[in-house]
Point group: C2
Chain length 387, copies 2
């Protein structure tokens, strides 16, 4: 593990350990603890088969109480595990609360990994008992412990003018097509923020960041995004804070897309000229999820017809005769096919990020989404996941 | 080309030729002609970027007139080609009508292939002039000429109790996630059918057949399904005819799924216990489009958690505690994970068709959808399509 030297904001500390949930022996159990009550906001998957952790956190979020800690396990999603799974999840929260000397209702839970297997509770509870022994300010061990098929940890941060900080971490590589949040994004801040204001602003921020990233169109049962604010760095300007929070989450969203299963490059689609922001986002997101466009990006093929196809099926209003498409800055369509140097554009696509700009020609709204290319690696990663 | 000996119903004949649209020199221009006016029904893509042929056929279908002929080109979709593309498409219809001595309004058009390139009209028109010279009753040459990345022609047929026949042909391998129809299904019958009755029944039949097949979630700009009835075999029982038509289209839909780009096997998902048929179809279709489930099927991995995930995001109502899942006939989930022999189920998945049966536990409605596995072959086919 690389040590980036990144630390949590004031009052937060974290611990990670290997509890034996992952057969590989990698760290798979972790927690973040705040020394003061946190205002918080939560967004969870819209899946009708949401996991026990999402359901429990959503119930807590329906109340107005604060939280103090978050416990995360990787390697097992504890989803589709029935009533036993619900009990196991509650027991996990209670166990960490008990070790920390706080009530279970102050502890959020998050599980990620394979669906349909009961948590190995003996190993999990044996681990939780000693987990807080390792609490420290460094963020790297936590960012590492929440990973599944991710190839690298994902951390982003911002510092406000008052000195208050925001640190965000995320995990996610496959089953990424969030519908409210993505598979685990956690942001921690020592800024003092009103819980009502935070919760009011959070859905729109999540919509423009995590809900605009897609790896495969598959929405997880365990997706969640959480922000915890413990106030230890005092008052901040709310608009400044929200803009910084959005910046941190946006950076994490792009990291998730770039680290999509089997990905070799980041795919960015910017849509303008839409009737509404929702339609612009839908058009951009449909491009990013299209297996045909993703395959073309993988092969550095400037096959912009697939952008027309994807936008056409996105539900966004458009006028083909007024549409425009550019690939890596080169205009290729403006109501009709434009002549362009295909070899030069293909060469320009051999980059870490491939950008398509699409104008729909029917309004002024804009939106941006992120995805990745589709490679044979995605298939091999997912063809033998359990066997 | 294999000669299956299959022929068109009475009064229909077809011709196919290589007009030089495909660089490979394969047959790419074809037509079907009826010697009597046909009652007909049409379903076209819901894409907002529909191609010129779909738009023109839809306009014709808005009227009550008959048709007599259909001209198809492969190798070029004539989509996103602006006003010139619209003119070229009309000129193609007019040219065939002129050679046949019938009005252009009696000629349907269908183009398939790459998006965003103008039709090579000199070659197309030069071909059309001689196309009817080769008219014959055999169906194989036509089924072959409409193919693009298909690996095999797709023909299905039925004979009614009166002796009237239905012959259906289809093409489609990638960009398959029809939203009204699939990329070309043509059915021809010599039964006498009332046009109003045919048009009233067609949408529901298309919904249960072509709209239930998916290869990659990408909806084409050129999708269409057409049925032509020339009445040459006389009156038939309408319910018998419609059931036979649905059987033919269903067989074609399964052929398209099995021949999906890069596919090595057919994926069938049967959903029961849904609140409505629409929700059952949505749940089944979401399973078939899931890249994660498709990858697992490719690797013979009985990872049924991905079925839970896909159904969960499908929008269908469900109760996880009452859900059931079976893989190749083996129950693996019934409100909780069931013990099963993973090696035996994996072995059973090494088959031409893999069937998942899913119960949602909230009603009595059923639905079935078809797809295919996701292989590295899909990526390589689509990574360098134009370059």
């Amino acid at each position: 593990m690389t040590d980036s030297g990144r630390t949590f904001p004031k009052g937060f500390s974290a611990a990670a350990m290997s509890a034996g949930i992952k057969p590989s022996g990698r760290t798979d159990l972790s927690c973040v603890v705040s020394d003061a009550d946190c205002a918080w906001a939560f967004a969870g998957t819209r899946s009708a088969a949401a996991a026990a952790c999402v359901t429990r956190n959503r119930e807590l979020a329906a109340g107005s109480g604060p939280v103090r800690a978050l416990v995360v396990n990787a390697g097992n999603a504890n989803a589709a595990t029935g009533a036993q799974g619900t009990r196991d999840n509650a027991e996990l929260a209670g166990a960490l609360g008990s070790v920390l000397g706080i009530g279970a209702e102050l502890v959020l839970t998050a599980s990620t990994g394979i669906i349909g297997h009961l948590l190995p509770m003996d190993r999990v509870l044996g681990g939780v008992e000693h987990l807080p022994d390792g609490l420290e300010r460094g963020a790297d061990a936590f960012a590492q412990a929440i990973m599944t098929t991710d190839t690298r940890p994902k951390v982003a941060q911002a510092t406000l003018s008052t000195g208050a900080r925001i640190l965000g971490t995320a995990k996610g590589s496959g089953m990424i097509h969030p519908d409210m949040a993505t598979m685990f994004a956690f942001a921690f801040t020592d800024a003092r923020v009103d819980q009502g204001a935070l919760r009011a602003a959070f859905p729109a921020i999540v919509n423009r960041t995590f809900n605009a990233v897609t790896v495969d169109g598959d929405t997880s049962t365990n997706d969640m995004a959480v922000v915890l604010a413990n106030g230890r760095a005092g008052e901040v300007d709310l608009p400044e804070f929200l803009a910084a929070l959005e910046g941190v989450l946006r950076e994490l969203a792009r990291m998730i897309a770039a680290d999509g299963e089997g990905a070799t490059k980041l795919l960015t689609v910017r849509v303008s000229g839409a009737r509404t922001e929702a339609e612009a986002l839908a058009a951009a997101r449909t491009c990013c999820v299209s297996p045909l466009l993703k395959s073309a990006v993988h092969g550095n093929d400037p096959n912009w017809g697939r952008v027309i196809m994807a936008v056409g099926r996105s539900g966004a209003a458009l006028e083909v005769e007024r549409m425009t498409v550019a690939v890596q800055g080169t205009p290729v369509f403006a109501g009709r096919p434009l002549p362009y140097d295909a070899a030069a554009v293909s060469a320009a696509m051999r980059a870490e990020e491939v950008v398509f700009e699409v104008g729909l020609g029917v309004g002024d709204a804009r939106g941006e989404a992120w995805g990745c290319d589709l490679s044979a690696g995605y298939v091999s990663i997912n063809a033998e996941y359990t066997t």
